[in-house]
Amino acid sequence: MKRICFFLLMLGLLSGCAAPAAQSEPAQAQFFSMDTVMSVRVYDGPKEDAVQAARQAVEELDGLLSRTNPDSQLSALNAHAGDGSPVALDGRVSELLTFAKSISQLLPGDFDITIAPVMDAWGFTTDQRQVPDPQTLAGALALVDSDKLNMDETASTARLEAAGMEVDLGAVAKGYAAGQAAAAIRETGATSALLDLGGNVTALGRKADGSAWQVGVKDPQDTAQTLCILSMEDQTASTSGGYERYFEEDGVVYHHIIDPETGYPADSGLLSVTVVSADHTLADALSTALFVAGEEEALDFWRSRTDFELVLCTSDGRVVVTQGLEEGMRPTGEDRGYTYEIVRR
């Protein structure tokens, strides 16, 4: 009898161990918008409503900002280039255009939203990718100048001075959308969510267990792997790298991040730039701008400000991380030969 009791006791202990810890599943949605794949996961509050609110916020912006949709406000702005008439814009569109212009002024030669004609010449926007002939490229490059994008913020209008000029907001739209989606989620009362807008990851609040979100930074040389894992809370991590979209012609690889100075794919010695910031739009814009700028200029710019942090992956296998990300950062690429440096102010 004692033995039977003993066996029963053991069985009880066994089943007690087997019970899995209860974990609440997030509500989630995956959808295509802004020419990329987006996913929204909400972990608390009215989850389903929050997911739908976020998706709606993103799709609304896509309707305003899409260059391929002829009914968008951006298409209207581009269509009226050079005809002298100011185009009335939604407050969000003019806010984003003004912001993008300010980045161009902060980092001259590294960032320009009027780069669209050059992108078209390379075929990155039409998916018929090709190396443009020099005359076409020179003609397109002559149209790139965000100083000729005139903004009237009080009237919420904008005007492109020269005919043929075009604005493409691909380098800032996802970051701005992240901000709008985050606000929409918060409005429903949810506080814990994770957005992945085409590789721009926005972490809202903390995880259900109270810890910070863990966000991997893709290895630009092996996209199945990560360079490191970052701890994030109420921030966006945005990454730009030549590996995202590219093509090969005559043995040369051409990627989609065009240097507005040369009209050619940026060749700054960086393989990828990740910007982490509580300002979602800033993170998105800077990842592109600082990829073009290169390591030295990127770090100088970082030292001049306090509102973002960087992970740079250089072509000689260094991963440069700024000090604000040091805490909670875990390197994961050492076995692939990467070395890690922390940069301090």
């Binding site: 033995r3 003993f6 066996f7 053991m10 202990l13 066994l14 161990c17």
Partner: protein, 169 residues
Amino acid sequence: MAHGLQRLTRAAVLTALALALSVAEGLAPLTILFPLPGLRLGLANLVTVYALCRLSGREALLILVARCLLGSLLGGNLMALAFSLTGGLLALAVMALLLRVPGLSLFGVSIAGAAAHNTGQILAAMVVLGGRAPLVYLPPLLLCSLVTGAVTGGVSILLVQRIPAPGRP
């Protein structure tokens, strides 16, 4: 009175033997050859088998508990005590049952005992560590117990045959 003293002495000698065997085994652990947590030959089990066959279940239990307690005092810790006691008790229970099943030899009894010992250890580890993780070691341990159980089974046959019930002429 003399009978009681004899039983006590006998149990004490067997406990000392079991303790010595388990310490000796610890000096040359099998885990050097085969790195599997919890893997051991189980020589102390010989004493349990012998006690079950030639003495009584109660004495076997007494010797086992004394051996485990003393063993943990000698060099183990509370966690090791929990593992060896759970494993030992489960092995004792299983072997005592199987010895009453007809058609088995001490090979089968020892193998079942070794398997039960490993199962008990892992159960204790799961309780102490509070998770299912130790369970992954159980299948390889069970397979190993086929070999270690057969070895101790062979030895215990020699032991039980050669050394008759103590205290009898």
